[in-house]
Point group: C2
Chain length 631, copies 2
C-alpha cells in the first residue's frame, strides 16, 4: 500500500469528524494533511507529556486540528472512537487543541500564540541540552494567519536572534484566509521576511510527500539557524472548494465526502480507517517508540557516565521552597524587594528563568549571577526578548510547557495589556508562569497617562485560574513565591511598586493572602494592598482618638477568597472600607461603592504628591470622608 | 548663522527641559534631534488640528518628546515657557505626547501604537485625496523599539499592502534600547525586512542634515510604495553617554549640560533659545504657514471648480442620525442585526469605514455596497487588515485622528484581548471609534475554550471613557449607533451575539441605555443584557403565579450609570437579580453576589444546550435558585 492513500484516508477522516460534529475547519485539514502525515510518519519522535525527550509539535493554526486528531488517533494516542465526539460536550477532542489531549503539546487557537509557544519550547531545549544533553527537535506548523499576527512575528525574530537551529517551522502556505485570498490582506514577500529574521528558508510543494520528507531532513541538519519550510499548498485540496476561502470553515455533507473519497480512491469505513491504514500507522507508532527509547537510552547512558550532571538533573525541577523572613530592611520599593527575594530564591531553586521586555533595568527582575542567555551562552538565566511583551508572555508559556522551568516575565503594569492573550493562555493551560508588573499605581511615575495603570489590575483579576498579588513589602513578596512554587501549577501576576514603602512587621498569616496588619478595637476595617497600605496606616493614625480601626493587607484578593469562610469572615469586621489604586470592582462584594477609595479615571502627568492631592488619595482626604460616613 | 547650531540649541533645550523636570528621556532627544529639525524646518507643513490639509506627524517613540516639544515651542505652537513645566502636574507638556498639545497629532508612548496610528492617517489621506483632492504627507518617527513590537510590524505590512506612497517612516536607528545594545534583542536585517513588506528603503546618516534633507526629498517622490528612511544615529550623541543605553533615561545635571553646550559651541539662556534661533524658527513658521495657505488655496480652488465635490465635502462629516425603528424582523443574531443597522445607516452617513481582522464573513460588519478598499480602489469603504487585530485597532485610531471618518473594527469578543492597548488609546484620546465584537458569550460557539469570552466584557467595561454595549435585538443595536454618532466623541464597544434572538418590543427608553423591558407587579427586578435577555424572560415565565418580576435590559451599564439618579433608582425596584454571561463585577454595586447569575470560569467545548446545562445557565435552574432566595 502506498503512503499517499493513508495520508488521504487520514484527511478524509478529519473531514468526516467535522461533518459529524457539524462544525470545524475543513480547508486546512486538506492543505496541511500531507505535511502532517510526513512529519508524523517519518520525522517527529512523538510521545506523551511525561516524556521530556520527545520532539515537540505545536499546531499554531489550531483550527486545523481535525486532521491532527485523525493522525494522533491512528497512532493510538487515543481511540479512533473519540473522533465521533469531536467538538461535543464532554468529548476528549475539543474544538481547538487543548493540553489534556494526549499528543498535544500546547493549547492553540488564537493565532500566533502557538508559534511563540514553540519558540519557548525550543529555547528550553537549548538550555536542557547545554545542561544535561537532553535534546530534541521542536516543530511548529503555522498558516498564513499566524504570520500576520504581531505576536508570531515577534517570536520569530527571537528564534532568529537566538539561532534556534532545532526549531523547524512548517508553513502551510495556502495563500487563503477566511475572508478571501491572502493577497487581499498581505503582499509580504515571506521568503525575504524570514531571511531578514535570520532563518534558513526552504521552499517545497506541500502535497508532494517525498519532497516534504527531504525538506524536513534538510531542516533538521541546520547548524546555526532556525528553519522555515514554506510549503505551497492548496486549501480544501481535492474538495469541490479547492483553493477557495469558502473551504476554510466548510462542513462537507456525507455525500460530498463520498464523492471526494471516490475521486481519491479512498475506501474506508465512516469515521474509521481501513485495516491497512491501521496496520501501517501501528507500525509507525512502533518505530516511533523504538526511536524514542533509543533516545532515552542514550540520555540515560550519558547521565550514568556523568554522575554530577545526573544528580543535578534529578534535582533540577525540585523547586520546593521554604519562606525566609527578610529582616531589618530600609524603605524600598516592592520592585526592589522582589529583586532581592527572587535572587535569594534563585540561590537554591535552579530552574528559574527571567524574561524581560527591555525593562529589566527598571523592573529589577533579573537573576544577578545568572548570566545572559544567548546563542553562545545557553546557560544564561536571563533572557532578553526585546520590546515584545506579547511574545514574551507566549514564549514564557512555551518554556513552562516544556516541563522543567519556571519562567518569570517582567514589564510595567500598564503594558500587561500588550500580553493579555498570552496571560489568558497561561491561565487556560494552568502554567506555572510568573508575570511581574512594576509601576503598580497611577502615582508611580511622571510618565503621563499612557504609562499609568488604572484598569489593568482589575482586568488581570478577572481572568479565571489567575492569582494576582500586590504585596506591600518584601516579606509579603516572599509569600507570593511560596504560592507560585509550592502550590498547584497556576500562573501568577505580581504587581510591584516603583515608590519606596516601609517594611511591615512579619506576620505568620501573610501566607493566607490576606491578614490583619493592624488590630483595632472598633468594628471598622480597612482593606488595602501594596503601595496604599501606607495610606491606610496613615488614615488609621488620623482617625486615632475617634476610632481605632483594623487594617487588613489583601496581598491577593483571589487568595483571600480561597480562604476558609470562617477565617475570612474574621477579617471582615464591621464597617468595611477599601483603599487601592485600581477600580476595586472585586471589593464591591464586601462593601458599598461609597466605602471604596479607588481610581477609576485615567491618570495625568505629575509628581506623586500632586497626583495624590488631585485624586484625593491622601490620608487627610480619605480619613475625612471616612469620618463623615461613620457619623 | 548655520542650521547646525539651531538644531543643537533645540536639542540642548530638550535636555534642559528634562533636567529641569527631573525625569525624561535624553538619549533619543540627541539621536533624533537632527532628523526632527530637518523635517520641521524643510519638509513638514505643520498646523493645528483644525487644519485638515496639514501634513501629519506622529512621534511613535513618544519618549523622545522633549526634543519635539522644543521644536514645537520654537515654532510658536506654544510658549517656550511651557518647557519649564514639562512633566509637571497641570503643565501642558505631558510625560509623553498627548493630543491636547498643539502640534501633536497623536498621543504616543506605548511603543508601536504610533506607527499604526500613522498608517491609519495615511489610509485616511488616500481616501480624502481620492474623494476630494485633499492631500498631504504622513510622517512617522520610530525608534528600534516600535519595530520590535508586533503591532508596529502588523501596521507596516498594511502600509506596504496598500501602497501608501505618501507615508514616510523616519527610523531613528540608534541601535540601542533601554537594557543595552539592540543586538542583544534583535539581529533582524531591517533593510531586508522593510523590503519584504513592500517598502522603498533609503539609508542615511541621521546626523547629517543635508543628507537627511535629500533623503526626505527622495521619499516624498515615491509613486507606489511607502518609504522608510533608515537613519543611522547615535543615542545620547554629544553627551558623555553617547552610544550607551545609559543615556536612554538619563537626566543630565546642569553642569553636565553646560559642558555639552561648550563642546557644541551653543550659547543660549537656560530653558530658552538665542535670539538668532528664535528669529530663524519664526521665519520657518512663517514659511510653513505660507505653504499651508497655498495648499489651502489650491484645495479651495479645486472645490470651487467642482461644485459637486464641494457639496459632498461639506456634508461629508455630518453624521447626525435619527434612530429608525426596525419592525417585523425574524429571530436573528445581533451580529446580523448590527449588519442591517450598519448598512441602513451607511445609506445616509457617508463617512463610515469598516476594518476587519479577516472575520467580516462572520462578524457581518461590512458596508455591503461600499466596495473593498485597496491600492487601486481608494473609495472602498471596507478595509481588510488581515489577522492583525492589534494593528486594526491602532489603525482605526489613526483614521479617527485624521478627522473625517468613523472607523468600525470587527473581530470576536475573545480576541478583544489582542487589541486592548489600542482600545485603551482610543479611550485616552476619546476617539469616535466603534469596536464591534461578536460571539458574545461562552454559549455562542463550539470552538472551545480559547474562543469563548469570559472576562473580556468586564475587562472592556473597566476602561475609563469607554461605552460598552451589549444589545439584545436590532432596535437596541440601533440606539448604540445613536450614542456613537450623535453624542460627544468617545469610543464604543458593541458586543454582539452569534446565536439568534427574538426581536423585542420597541421601547422609547432604549436610548437611555437601560429600560424596563417587562413590567412586573412585585418588587423584584432582573437586570440582564444581550443574549441573556431571553433567559431572563423565560425565568419571568417560570416564576409566574408566584412572582411577577420586572426585567430591565441593560444595553450598556456605563449608560445606565450616566442616567439621572432618580431615573436609575426607578429601574432598581426591590430585590435585584442579574443574569449575564460575564463575571458581572460592575453589577456588584446593585446587588449581592448570590443574586448574580454569571460566568466566571473558562468555557468548554460543546453545543449551546449542553453548555447552558453544564453552567446552570437555564431558566429552570436560575428560577429555582431565585425562588430559594426569595423564600
Amino acid at each position: 500500500m502506498k503512503d499517499i492513500d493513508i495520508s488521504n484516508e487520514l484527511k478524509i477522516l478529519g473531514l468526516e469528524a467535522i461533518s459529524n460534529a457539524g462544525s470545524g475547519h475543513s480547508g486546512s485539514v486538506m492543505s496541511a494533511g500531507d505535511i502532517l502525515f510526513t512529519l508524523y510518519t517519518r520525522h517527529l519522535i512523538s510521545g506523551l507529556k511525561d516524556e521530556p525527550l520527545r520532539d515537540r509539535f505545536v499546531l499554531s493554526n489550531g483550527h486545523a486540528c481535525a486532521g491532527l486528531y485523525a493522525i494522533l488517533a491512528s497512532l493510538n494516542f487515543f481511540s479512533l472512537d473519540e473522533l465521533k465526539h469531536f467538538r461535543s460536550f464532554g468529548g476528549l477532542l475539543t474544538g481547538h487543541p487543548e493540553i489534556d489531549i494526549p499528543g498535544i503539546d500546547s493549547a492553540t487557537g488564537p493565532l500566533g500564540q502557538g508559534v511563540a509557544n514553540a519558540v519557548g519550547m525550543a529555547i528550553a531545549e537549548t538550555i536542557m541540552n547545554a545542561r544535561f544533553h537532553l535534546s530534541h527537535y521542536t516543530y511548529c506548523m503555522v498558516g498564513d494567519g499566524c504570520l500576520e499576527e504581531g505576536v508570531g512575528l515577534e517570536a520569530l525574530s527571537i528564534a532568529g536572534l537566538y539561532k534556534l537551529n532545532k526549531f523547524i517551522l512548517l508553513y502551510d502556505k495556502n495563500d487563503v484566509t477566511l475572508d478571501g485570498n491572502l493577497n487581499k490582506s498581505s503582499i509580504d514577500d515571506m521568503k525575504l521576511k524570514f531571511k531578514s529574521m535570520g532563518f534558513n528558508v526552504l521552499e517545497c510543494d506541500g502535497h508532494n510527500k517525498k519532497k516534504i520528507d527531504r525538506a524536513i531532513d534538510k531542516a533538521k541538519s541546520s547548524k546555526d539557524k532556525p528553519t522555515v519550510i514554506i510549503f505551497k499548498t492548496i486549501i480544501g485540496k481535492d474538495t469541490p472548494l479547492a483553493g477557495s476561502n469558502l473551504s476554510h470553515g466548510k462542513v462537507f455533507k456525507l455525500d460530498e465526502i463520498d464523492s471526494i473519497k471516490k475521486k481519491l480512491n479512498v475506501e474506508k469505513p465512516f469515521l474509521n480507517l481501513s485495516v491497512e491504514a491501521k496496520e501501517y500507522m501501528s507500525l509507525v507508532r512502533k518505530f516511533n517508540d523504538e526511536k524514542l527509547s533509543i533516545r532515552k537510552k542514550n540520555f540515560e547512558n550519558f547521565l550514568k557516565n556523568n554522575k554530577n550532571i545526573e544528580k543535578n538533573y534529578k534535582n533540577f525541577t525540585k523547586n520546593a521552597l521554604k519562606i525566609k523572613n527578610f529582616k531589618n530592611l530600609d524603605k524600598i520599593s516592592t520592585r526592589e524587594a522582589n529583586g532581592i527575594v527572587l535572587n535569594e530564591i534563585a540561590k537554591n531553586v535552579e530552574n528559574l528563568l527571567t524574561l524581560s521586555a527591555d525593562l529589566s533595568s527598571s523592573t529589577k527582575v533579573k537573576i544577578e549571577n545568572g548570566g545572559e542567555y544567548s546563542a553562545t551562552n545557553r546557560l544564561g538565566k536571563n533572557i532578553a526578548v526585546g520590546i515584545r511583551e506579547h511574545a514574551m508572555g507566549a514564549i514564557a508559556n512555551g518554556i513552562a510547557l516544556h516541563g522543567e522551568f519556571v519562567p518569570i516575565c517582567s514589564t510595567f503594569l500598564t503594558f500587561s495589556n500588550y500580553m493579555m492573550p498570552a496571560i489568558r493562555m497561561a491561565s487556560i493551560m494552568k502554567l506555572r508562569v510568573l508575570f511581574t508588573f512594576t509601576h503598580s499605581s497611577i502615582f508611580d511615575t511622571p510618565d503621563g497617562v499612557t504609562h499609568l495603570p488604572v484598569e489593568q489590575l482589575d482586568q488581570l483579576r478577572l481572568i479565571p485560574n489567575m492569582i494576582v498579588a500586590r504585596p506591600a513589602d518584601i516579606n509579603e513578596c516572599a509569600v507570593c513565591y511560596n504560592w507560585l512554587l509550592n502550590e498547584e501549577s497556576k500562573p501568577m501576576c505580581l504587581v510591584l511598586s516603583r515608590g519606596n514603602l516601609p517594611p511591615l512587621n512579619i506576620n505568620e498569616n501573610m501566607i493566607d493572602g490576606a491578614y490583619l496588619l493592624k488590630q483595632g478595637k472598633d468594628k471598622i476595617t480597612i482593606l488595602s494592598s501594596g503601595s496604599e497600605i501606607q495610606i491606610a496606616l496613615d488614615v488609621a493614625d488620623a482617625l486615632k482618638g475617634k476610632y481605632d480601626v483594623n487594617i487588613v493587607s489583601v496581598i491577593s484578593i483571589e487568595k483571600f477568597e480561597q480562604m476558609e469562610k470562617s477565617k475570612r469572615s474574621k477579617l471582615l469586621k464591621g464597617e468595611i472600607f477599601v483603599i487601592e489604586s485600581s477600580p476595586c470592582v472585586k471589593y464591591l462584594k464586601y462593601t458599598s461603592e461609597n466605602h471604596i477609595f479607588n481610581v477609576r479615571d485615567f491618570g495625568v502627568t505629575g509628581d506623586e504628591t500632586s497626583l495624590k492631592n488631585h485624586f484625593g488619595f491622601t490620608s487627610e482626604n480619605i480619613s475625612k470622608k471616612i469620618l463623615k460616613i461613620l457619623k
